[in-house]
């Protein structure tokens, strides 16, 4: 066993009342591909942010090649040889791959008028390509590249500058097709051959056995297991069990006891060019309908089409049996459809404002007194009651939403939904960045809502969809996939969403 190139011991991090990381021990060795696994909220992202210098640890030690390091900024981490490729790398689409790779380090001198040494750049690019012979036209504009080519540019950009010892890839395959994924794995093989350690974050467990040498599993803010893939294979270890732990089943509420009631929302043959086609489904009162789809499957677009943000090109929508046309969120809200959007920070909340402002926002008609005034006392009472109902913590109506944790921000969006008294609730990625306690609360609220309204849960987290919904279907590349008979098992749902195949 080689000496670890990166080692973390007893690392902890606290966000307000939430202990995001507790005593994490972790290491990677040179030239190994190390998968980092864990469900949302397990602490993976927090840990990666600490390793890449975006946030600072509260306690513990990190050493790189034996020397203790403290990262105050991302530059510190890069200088120490830790390069990170974010989940959605930021590249300049109008510039060539080459220009992107050397952006900001075009020439050795940094004066205002130092000339860009085009020949030198090309020499450096050729040297880089000689080290990592990827089939990639670096002179092409990034905007015209495929997803995997952009990922490759982002990786080359990350490792071009300094002497990189560790490369962190945050869910690089979530937007890639099957074939593209192989190309990425080939590039990772090249990096590995150079002795670079790769920390690889993924939610797709089959990839671990395909590409990784070893893996760590995060759960509840700590690293619960580290083993090599060979050991896992020999011991017939279930990654899913490791990730979910024993108690995890409890976070989902019991399924509906009574059969579902009347159809509330009926979608028929919804099509939106380039995003999804031929989607037909029915949401009933008394049940939770789950839709599983990865990024790029058309899930988010479908939700926004139903909510009137981007109306579909074709298809009919019926509410309580009556055909309706929803061309704007206003019309959708008036018709009784509420969307808990996937990006709560930009789409769900006015972050600079407190719950008192956000909760009534989607139903100002209810808060209004006559044509002009506001029933301020009533509004305050309602906001207090609803934030209590969703167990907002801390229970403050006057703290700006930006001051709450992700889970509690989501609870404010939920209270806003409750205030709007809709008949259909559509949740998109309801628990991204939400800690485990708040997740259980949010799932329980969904169940509670489903008694009075139709609830649709759309998520790229298969376990979430399978865990909370009574009936599930998958979206794959804009196409709806349903079980031939009965309901999807968890694994069948996963396969349907990832591969687009019904395996039953």
């Amino acid at each position: 066993m080689a000496a670890p190139v990166l080692m973390a011991s007893d690392v902890s991090k606290r966000f307000g009342p939430v202990l995001a990381l507790r005593g994490v021990d972790f290491h990677v060795e040179p030239g190994e591909v190390h998968a980092l696994l864990g469900i949302n909220g397990a602490g993976k992202s927090t840990f990666i942010k600490i390793l890449s210098g975006i946030i600072q640890k509260d306690g513990g030690r990190i050493t790189v090649a034996g020397a203790e390091v403290t990262f105050r900024t991302p530059e510190d981490a890069i200088r120490a040889g830790i390069a990170t490729v974010q989940q959605h790398p930021e590249l300049v689409p109008d510039m060539s791959g080459l220009d992107n790779i050397f952006l900001g380090r075009e020439s050795a001198s940094r004066g205002l008028f130092s000339r860009i040494d085009q020949r030198g750049l090309e020499r450096r690019a050729e040297a880089l390509l000689a080290r990592f012979p990827v089939a990639l036209d670096l002179w092409q504009e990034v905007g015209r590249m495929s997803a995997v080519e952009r990922e490759a540019v982002a990786i080359l950009q990350a490792i071009a500058g300094e002497h990189t010892r560790v490369l962190i890839l945050d869910e690089p395959t979530s937007t890639l097709t099957e074939v593209e994924r192989e190309d990425l794995f080939a590039l990772m093989g090249l990096l590995k051959a150079q002795g670079i350690a790769i920390i690889y974050i993924t939610h797709q467990l089959e990839e671990v056995f395909a590409i990784a040498d070893s893996f760590s599993v995060f759960r509840g803010g700590t690293c619960v297991a580290r083993m090599t893939v060979a050991e896992a294979k020999a011991g017939d270890v279930s990654l899913a069990n490791l990730m979910l732990g024993e108690a995890i089943g409890d976070i989902f509420p019991p399924r509906a006891e009574t059969p579902p009631g009347a159809a509330v929302l009926e979608v028929e043959d919804f099509c939106l060019e380039g995003d999804f086609r031929g989607i037909s489904l029915t949401a009933r009162k008394g049940e939770i309908l789950g839709i599983f789809g990865l990024v790029g499957s058309g899930c988010d677009e479908f939700a926004k089409a139903v909510f009137g943000v981007t109306p579909p090109d074709r298809g009919t929508l019926r509410l309580h049996g009556q055909p309706v046309s929803l061309r704007s969120p206003r019309q959708a809200l008036d018709a009784g459809v509420f969307l808990v959007p996937g990006d709560r920070r930009t789409e769900g909340l006015v972050l600079s404002r407190p719950a008192l402002f956000n909760v009534p926002l989607a139903n100002l008609g209810r808060a209004a007194a006559g044509r002009w005034g506001l029933k301020r006392r009533r509004m305050q009472g309602d906001a207090r009651e609803l934030t209590g109902q969703v167990a907002l913590h801390p229970p403050s109506l006057t703290t700006p939403a930006s001051g709450f944790s992700g889970g509690n921000q989501q609870k404010i969006v939920l209270a806003k939904g409750l205030y709007s008294q809709a008949d259909v609730y559509i949740f998109v990625e309801p628990t991204v960045g939400v800690d485990i306690g708040a997740r259980a609360k949010i799932y329980a609220l969904m169940r509670q809502l489903s008694r009075e309204a139709a609830v649709i849960v759309i998520s790229s987290d298969c376990d979430e969809v399978h865990g909370v919904a009574d009936r599930t279907l998958a979206l794959h590349k804009g196409r709806q996939i349903e079980p031939a008979v009965g309901t999807f098992s968890r694994d069948a749902l996963l396969m349907a969403g990832i591969m687009g195949e019904v395996t039953q």
């Binding site: 909510f307 206003r330 789409e347 006015v350 404002r353 100002l364 808060a367 109506l397 703290t399």
Partner: protein, 334 residues
């Protein structure tokens, strides 16, 4: 932060503002004793009315996080338009109605171009403002309009008094009272703020965000017309340069008020414009040439916003902390 802390912070800001008013007033009175004379105070009230109306209009636009640089142009064109209507022998109310209508149309054009067609706000309003400045020469080729001004009674807006205060100040207070109610006590106001602070989330909450942005520009143009009306009443004639000195004080009032009182609001603008008008009038009493006034106001604006910004305060606190740390370290070594 709890509600109580929030209230404490707000009242601290309010007290700070009053102290600042007293400080500025005291300093100006020391430098120029005439500053506290009745004539001077009346002048401040009148100028504050005109400046305050323009600043209020701008407040709507700033709340939806946009800019309007057409204020001077709109003021010039509507001044000449109202002047032309008065000169033609029409009654005052008709002139005012014509001015407001023209202003509303101009505001609607800017607002629609920006909100519906996505044009950049700064470029659009500079263009609209320049067109308006050109149109101001349409009626007389640039000559001053004064016919019928005294007969029509417009100067009463400047001279008449009600309960001991000038009519123009009453107009200011009435318009501000309505604006305060709408912006801080109705769903319309909530929609304005939500649109400015997160347009996407507001849209997803069913708020017609583009309509509110357009409405902000309409309100801004109408308030500009009211402001220039008071200027016409004071001077007794209409000229193409009448609105030239409205824009900078308006921006200074909105941003200084927001910086001191912790956010853009109707009351913050009122406070900001009080300070700015006191300074402007004080300087002119002390004989500071008018061509320096915009520069001085802008300087005060930058200094004020900097002094009250959290980032600048954090930076200063950081500097102090670093110096203290260095001193402690060097002390430790010695």
């Amino acid at each position: 932060m709890s509600g109580l802390q929030d209230m404490a912070r707000q009242s601290a800001r309010g007290l700070g503002f009053l102290a600042l008013v007293a400080l500025v007033g005291g300093a100006l009175a020391l430098a120029e004793p005439r500053f506290l004379s009745a004539a001077s105070l009346n002048g401040i009230a009148r100028h504050m009315a005109a400046n305050g109306l323009a600043a209020l209009g701008l407040t709507f636009v700033v709340i939806v996080r946009k800019f309007d640089l057409s204020i001077s142009g709109v003021a010039a064109f509507t001044a000449m338009s109202m002047g032309a209507v008065i000169a033609a022998g029409a009654p005052l109310w008709l002139a005012v109605a014509a001015g407001i209508a023209i202003g509303a149309v101009i505001g609607l054009i800017s607002g629609t171009a920006i909100s519906r067609f996505g044009l950049p706000d700064i470029v659009t309003t500079i263009a609209v403002g320049s067109i308006c400045a050109g149109l101001a020469f349409l009626y007389t080729g640039g000559r001053s309009i004064f016919q019928n001004f005294f007969q029509v009674g417009i100067t009463d807006l400047n001279d008449a008094r009600l309960l001991g205060l000038g009519v123009s100040l009453w107009i200011l207070l009435a318009v501000y009272a309505v604006a305060w109610f709408v912006m801080h006590r109705t769903r319309t106001g909530m929609a304005f703020y939500a649109t400015g602070e997160n347009q996407v989330a507001a849209h997803f909450s069913g708020i017609a965000t583009r309509r509110y942005i357009a409405l902000a520009y309409v309100m801004c143009a109408i308030c500009t017309v009211l402001a220039v009306l008071l200027i016409l009443a004071e001077s007794g004639n209409a000229e193409t340069n009448k609105g030239a000195n409205l824009m900078m004080p308006a921006y200074a009032g909105v941003f200084l008020g927001a910086a001191i009182l912790g956010g853009t609001s109707v009351l913050a603008t009122l406070g900001g414009i009080l300070l700015i008008t006191m300074l402007l009038d004080g300087f002119s009493l002390m004989g500071v040439p008018y061509y320096y006034s915009d520069g001085v106001i802008s300087l005060i604006l930058l200094a004020g916003v900097l002094a009250f910004s959290d980032t600048a305060r954090g930076y200063l606190a950081g500097l102090v902390a670093v110096r203290a740390l260095r001193r402690a370290r060097s002390g430790g070594k010695a």
